[in-house]
Structures are given as structure tokens and as C-alpha cells.
């Protein structure tokens, strides 16, 4: 029983990390219509940037902001110089998937000679353990949970209560109509890349902090969990991604406790397959992953 309680604690941390990553991923897809397979690589690159800042003597909680800023600028530039030109050229969705996979491959391999194969770790990776009954969490883990809740509330407030959020939702629903109503969709999309890029960078640093040590190869794993949560919730649905993160975070950690920790991603994948078989549109979306016809 205490094992399950401990696993629940880890689940809380996991779902916080996944939620940060998945919300940014799903918003990119929902609003800019781009399945960005380079997302995991941008995450790990931001984590490395924060690592170098951290090594220079800055606290990781401040370096995290640097990671987020880097993620924002990097994602913005990738869109500006690669994705947007290809989309303007009229490349089909499938072509864009190949383009983003090529970008992902290029980022991870351009990073490799710089950071090497060796694993890196932040200086603050160990922190005091606090006990709440049989639930034990470190100060870092509690900070991650609080951070994730704060960011989720901020995303909610952004989408619900601001003009920018309204413009984003309008652009996601129907870009042409939004443009005809006087919304500067191009600027909205630029801002979306900055915001989701910041989420991506932040998620990368948090995920790296949570996993003690990390290597450049972790990018693919980050992408898979974010994808699984986003697809489970219904692609393009920020609230769906949050629900997906809660489900996947809990189930993967519980399975790690009762089965084997090596198979966390496999369990996430199993959930993904089940969703694709039973409810391809995800929990919240109306159409989502379903084919247009046929």
C-alpha cells in the first residue's frame, strides 16, 4: 500500500512535467496546424542551455527562465525560417510532418558534438525530503508541482480572459474567418510560437530536473509522453492535454511501481494505441485524429 502511495506521489510529479510539455505541444498543433516533431529536441536543447547557465553558478530556478526564453526564441525561429515558408509554399500536412522530423534530426545531431554523449545533471538535483504521512516528496518535486499548477492556471487565464486568448481560439477554430474579422492571424501565430516555445523550454528544464540526469537522447522520450498526453486528450485541446497528462502521469508511475520502470514509455504507448483504437478523436475533441472521409 505504501508503495502505491509513493507511486502516487511520483505520479503527481510526472503529471506536472507531462502537462507542461503536452499543453505547449497541443497548442502548437491546435492553433498553427503544425505537428512539431522537433518539440522533444527543443525541450532537451533548452535543458542543456539551462545546464550551462546552472554550471556557471546560477540557481536552476533562475536558469529555468533562461531555458524558457531560449525555447521561445528557438521555436519562433524554427517556425519563421522553416515551417512557415514550407506552409506558405502549400506543403501538405504529411510533408510538414516529414519536415519537422528532419528538423528534429538536425537539432539533435547538431547538438551532439557540442554537448557530447555523456549525461549531465543540474547542481540542485538533490533536495530535502519532506514527509506527508506515507507520501514523501522532495522540495524540488513540490516546487515542480506548484510551478505546473501555476502555469496551467496562467494558460487557462490567457485563453479565457484575454483578448489575445480569444484571438488564439478564433485562429484555431477558423483561420480564414478570423482574418476576415480583423484578427492579425500572422501575429497571433508568431505569439503562439513564442508562448508554446517558452512552455516547451520550461518543460524541458523541469523534465531534466525531474529525471536527475539527462542526455541528448532523452528528447525522443520527452516527445512520446507529450504526444501521448496530447492525443489522449484530443489533439489541439489544451484542457484535453491537461487531462491526458494527469492520466498518463498516474498510470505510468503506478505501472512503474507494480511492474518495471523500464517500461514507462511502453505503458504510455499502450495508452496511445488504446486511444487510437477506441476513441481516435481523443477525450475532448470532436473530430481530431479521425480521417476526413473513407
Amino acid at each position: 500500500m505504501s508503495l502505491l502511495v509513493a507511486a502516487f506521489g511520483f505520479g503527481l510529479v510526472s503529471m506536472s512535467v507531462i502537462a507542461l510539455a503536452a499543453v505547449g505541444f497541443t497548442m502548437q498543433f491546435g492553433i498553427t496546424n503544425m505537428i512539431n516533431l522537433a518539440y522533444g529536441e527543443v525541450m532537451i536543447t533548452s535543458a542543456y542551455l539551462a545546464y550551462y547557465v546552472n554550471q556557471a553558478g546560477v540557481s536552476i530556478w533562475i536558469a529555468m527562465l533562461g531555458g524558457a526564453a531560449f525555447g521561445a526564441v528557438f521555436s519562433f525561429l524554427i517556425n519563421r525560417f522553416v515551417y512557415a515558408p514550407f506552409q506558405r509554399k502549400g506543403t501538405a500536412l504529411l510533408g510538414m510532418v516529414i519536415v519537422s522530423l528532419a528538423v528534429s534530426l538536425m537539432i539533435s545531431n547538431a547538438m551532439l558534438p557540442i554537448v557530447g554523449y555523456f549525461s549531465a545533471a543540474y547542481r540542485e538535483r538533490f533536495s530535502r525530503l519532506l514527509h506527508f504521512g506515507s507520501l514523501a516528496l522532495t522540495v524540488n518535486q513540490i516546487a515542480i508541482i506548484v510551478l505546473a499548477i501555476g502555469v496551467m492556471l496562467a494558460v487557462h487565464a490567457l485563453l479565457r480572459y484575454t483578448r489575445l486568448g480569444k484571438a488564439m481560439r478564433a485562429t484555431a477554430a477558423n483561420p480564414t474567418l478570423a482574418r476576415n474579422c480583423g484578427i492579425p492571424t500572422q501575429r497571433v501565430i508568431d505569439v503562439v510560437w513564442l508562448i508554446t516555445g517558452a512552455l516547451c523550454g520550461l518543460a524541458g528544464v523541469v523534465a531534466a530536473l525531474d529525471s536527475d540526469s539527462f542526455t541528448i537522447a532523452n528528447g525522443a522520450g520527452f516527445l512520446i509522453t507529450a504526444l501521448a498526453a496530447a492525443v489522449l486528450g484530443g489533439a489541439g485541446q489544451p484542457y484535453g492535454a491537461m487531462i491526458g497528462a494527469v492520466v498518463i502521469g498516474l498510470i505510468t508511475e503506478l505501472s512503474a511501481a507494480v511492474w518495471a520502470p523500464d517500461y514507462k514509455q511502453v505503458v504510455a504507448f499502450g495508452i496511445l494505441v488504446a486511444v487510437m483504437l477506441l476513441r481516435p478523436q481523443g477525450l475532448l475533441a470532436k473530430r481530431g485524429a479521425l480521417a476526413a472521409a473513407g
Binding site: 505537428i35 516533431l37 522553416v82 515558408p85 514550407f86 509554399k89 502549400g90 506543403t91 501538405a92 500536412l93 504529411l94 510533408g95 510538414m96 510532418v97 516529414i98 519536415v99 522530423l101 528532419a102 528538423v103 534530426l105 538536425m106 539533435s108 545531431n109 547538431a110 551532439l112 558534438p113 557530447g116 554523449y117 525522443a220 512520446i224 504526444l227 501521448a228 492525443v231 489533439a235 518495471a260 523500464d262 517500461y263 514509455q265 511502453v266 504507448f269 496511445l272 494505441v273 487510437m276 483504437l277 481516435p280 485524429a289 479521425l290 480521417a291 476526413a292 472521409a293 473513407g294
Partner: protein, 334 residues
Amino acid sequence: MNTYYAANLLIFAGVDIIACLALNLQFGVSGIVNFSFIVFQAAGAYTAAILSMPPDTAPDYTFQIYFGGYQLPFPIPWIGGAVAGGLLALPIGLVVLRRLRADYQAIALLVTSIIANTVINNARPWLNGAAGVALVPQPLQEQLNADTHTYQYLYIGLTAICVAIVWFIAARIVNSPYGRSLRAMRENEVAATALGKNPTALKMTIFIVGGAIAGLSGAILVGFLTVWAPSTWLYPETIILFAAVIVGGRGNNVGAILGALLVPVGFEEVTRLLGGLNIGPPQLIPALEWVCIGLFILGFLWFRPRGVAPEPRHVFPGAPIREDTRWVEGTPAS
């Protein structure tokens, strides 16, 4: 350039040509973005390995753990590899290709590829985990000495026969009414459905055919390398093949062969030449090569989406000639 090296190069070229022809059938002709292509090659390789190896209790083989070990004579492991690739396509295709939108199919297949590798890497009792299987017997090893030049020529010959068979099958498919249906589905799935074509059935059959050919390519490769491990079939290997088909000319079998010779084989050669120069840290050259593969894909998609050898236009007698007959998916209608 000694005989062994030349044989090496020719056999890799043959395997890459077979793989590119299969990927071209799926991606170029039918528009299925099969990001888990390498998994089918791996399935063929593992199957050929366990069909030709003795059980893991045999002397010399006790350092690895795997199931099976049937010691079957030559053509059976290769046939088995092809069958395994085709059989594996069945469940994956049924999950992925039936209801999902095309871009979701692509990411589902990518995730499948990453996860399959993780599972085989971590589950040692099946196929010896991360270390992989080693000492796979070469075809006809009992009858002939595998270290001789004659054996190298024989292996090249066997590979060439397989290339010819696969080429024949691919050419027949592309030029048949079935190939026409596949192209119709690729260009406009809704219209093809409206004309009575069943896109799911079309996709499933080509997925299975492509999977079987991929499995054969894996069987040929493992017979030559005699080792096979998860690190040889990471998902970026699929991207090389995609780069080859895009560079060569998707939808065109000649293009696929050209791409196989230009990208995987060409890069292999460049690595060998640059490897002797000792520039920078050891991982620099291979990493830069991957960056180049990415640039190749982006560059060709941008400047020449139809590739070096574009797919021939299929214009039928009596069809109304319209301005936009030159239009091919991926290029802007000019």
C-alpha cells in the same frame, strides 16, 4: 579497394535498393508515411537470425539468450524474414491505417518505431536485448567456406537475384490497375473512395507487401553482417531511406534506386573517406552527416520536391489535357 570492401559496398547497395523500392511503394506511390519502416526490416532480420541459428543452449551460443533457434537451411530464413515483415504489417496496419488521419498515421508509426526499439532493447530473454544476436550463420555456410572470395561473389549474386525479383514486383505493381488505384488514393483519397476504391484495403495490401520486402532486406543484411542489435535499427535509419526516396524521386522506381545509391551508399562512402582525415572529435563527422541528411530532405522538398528522377506523368489517351496536368502533390500549382 579490395574485394572484401567492394563486396561490402555492393551488398549494402543491394539491401538499400530493396528497402528503397519497398518504401517507394508505400510512401512514393501510395502516400503512406511509414516512419516505422525500419521495424519491418528488423523483424525480417531477427526472424532470419533465429531461423538459421542453433538453439541458445548450443556450445558457442550460450553467451546470448533468444527464443527458437531452428537451424533451417538457406532459403528458408530469407523467406521467413519476408513472411515475418508481412505478418507484422497486419496488426500495425489494422491499428494505424484504418481510421486515423494521414498525419496521425505518420506520428503513430514514428512512435511505434521508437517503442518497438525500447521494448526489444529492455527485454533480454526474447532477442538478447541491447547486445543483440551475434554469430548468425551465413547462408550455405555449411557447404561453402564463408571466408573465400567465391563466397563473396555468391552473396552478391544472391542479393542481385533478390533485387531483380523485388524490382519486377515493384514495376508490376506500379504499372498495374492496382498501382493506378494507389496513385489515385494518394492524390485524392475522397475522390478515389467516391469512385468505389476502398482506401483501407488498398493501404493494407501495400503495407503488407512493403513490409514483406522490408523483411527480406533485413534477412539479407543479417546474413551478411552476422549480428543484429537494437542500435542498428533506431528510427533515424528510416529517415535515411525517406531522404533517399525523396532525393531520388518519389513514386518512381528508378528514382528509388537512384536515391538508394546517392544517399545511404553515398554517405557510407563519404564517411569512410572523411573518417581517415581525423577532423575534430570522433562524433563530429557522423553527427554532421545526419545534419546533412536533414538538409537534403529540406532542400529537396523546397527546391525539387519531385526528386532527381521525377515520377512520369501518367496521361491516358482520350483524357482531356488540362493546364494543371503537370501538378504533382507537394509542388505548388503553377
